[in-house]
Amino acid sequence: MDDADEQAFAEYFRARRDTVRRTAFLLCGDWHRADDHAQSAFVALHRHWRKIREPRAMDAWVRKTLVRAVVDESRRPWRRERSTDRTPEVAGVDADVATRTALVDALRKVPARQRAVLVLRYLEGLDVAGTAAALGCSAGTVKSQTSHGLAALRGILGESLDDMREAG
């Protein structure tokens, strides 16, 4: 890349790094792994920078790379996720922090594809079509995955989920 491209990449990186990290965190539930995934997505973008020039296309490209990596990783045996009935106890924290923790913990128990749909729709604010494009599936699949994901969250969080939905 020439200097102008490096400069443009640096600006894009500055603008988008935290957003990508946050999405990665809700997708995988761990800040260290989220940083790994986010950094890798930016590295991949840097390597393909000349081919992807339009900012919206860059967002979509990074999002797709990130989601695919996290979902794929969840299938690999050395990182395969296991659901557990036990939620780690959080002692001495206020209600807001407890709510945040509960949501993140609950998301980790939702199957990876459903979790990705929920994160893209509720954190990134994508509509059904945008989510379908990011995940490479149909709108119908996104709708059913959303429904199943929310049902899974409700099964874990109980009435707290309804409180969140009303608040949101």
Binding site: F9, F13, R22, D35, D36, A69, W78, D96
Partner: protein, 231 residues
């Protein structure tokens, strides 16, 4: 709901990487791939040369093996009917040479001297392109470099097969290493084969959308078998 999701990530720790880190890693991968591509081209040349120059014919009774030079000129219509051993070599060779190149020499085997498995291994890519030339023009698919230790090799391609598009992955797992989990994914075509080096090769094709079929689904079993002899 959206507010709850935003709130859940409102207190992020400091980022563990900077733009300089990204740039450095990108350049490191670029340098490594440029070095590896030399080996990849050499491997492909050997494989292709083997496919062109050597045909191995197994006798129908399994008792005799005949080696012959493959025809350099375009083949003529050979007609029908069984041939005896010792018949003109070009015809025998044309029948015996498989659609994919014949393996020559030792299998490629595990990658060495790498800190993490390369998700776009140039040497494996050369083998894949030689075995299924329709993939030669496929672009590398977006992947991330989650560090998986070991001697594995991977290639992930964004493929187009007529109206079908999708992600095409070839993953070689070195002997003694845990294979990737790919079975059971709905809508994917997955073929696994034990390889000549004692590892495992897994070929996976998954459609980009739910509406179409799976790209190159029909070719995957033969591709997996061919790659297994090279790896």
């Amino acid at each position: 709901m959206a507010a709850a999701f935003r709130d859940a990530v409102s207190e992020a720790p400091d980022a563990g990487f900077s733009a300089d880190d990204v740039r450095r890693e990108s350049h490191r991968i670029g340098r490594r791939n440029r070095m590896l591509v030399t080996g990849g081209v050499a491997a492909a040349a050997i494989v292709l040369a083997g496919g062109v120059t050597t045909g191995v014919v197994l006798a129908r009774d399994g008792q005799t093996t005949t080696s012959a030079a493959a025809p350099a000129a375009p083949a003529q219509d050979s007609g029908s009917g069984a041939r005896e051993l010792g018949a003109p070599a070009p015809d025998l060779a044309r029948e015996a040479v498989p659609s994919a190149p014949t393996p020559v020499g030792a299998p490629l085997g595990p990658a060495v001297g790498q800190d993490c498995v390369n998700p776009q291994d140039p040497q494996l890519r050369a083998l894949v392109d030689a075995a299924l030339p329709a993939l030669a023009t496929a672009q590398e698919a977006p992947t991330t470099m989650i560090c998986r230790q070991g001697g594995g090799r991977e290639v992930h391609l964004q493929v187009v097969d007529g109206q079908l598009t999708g992600l095409f992955s070839v993953v070689y797992t070195a002997p003694g290493e845990e294979p990737s989990q790919t079975a059971g994914a709905v809508g994917w075509v997955v073929e696994e084969r034990p390889t000549a080096s004692g590892g495992l090769v897994t070929v996976t094709s998954r459609p980009e959308s739910d509406s179409g079929g799976v790209p190159f689904a029909a070719q995957i079993p033969d591709l997996a078998t061919t790659l297994a002899t090279h790896l």
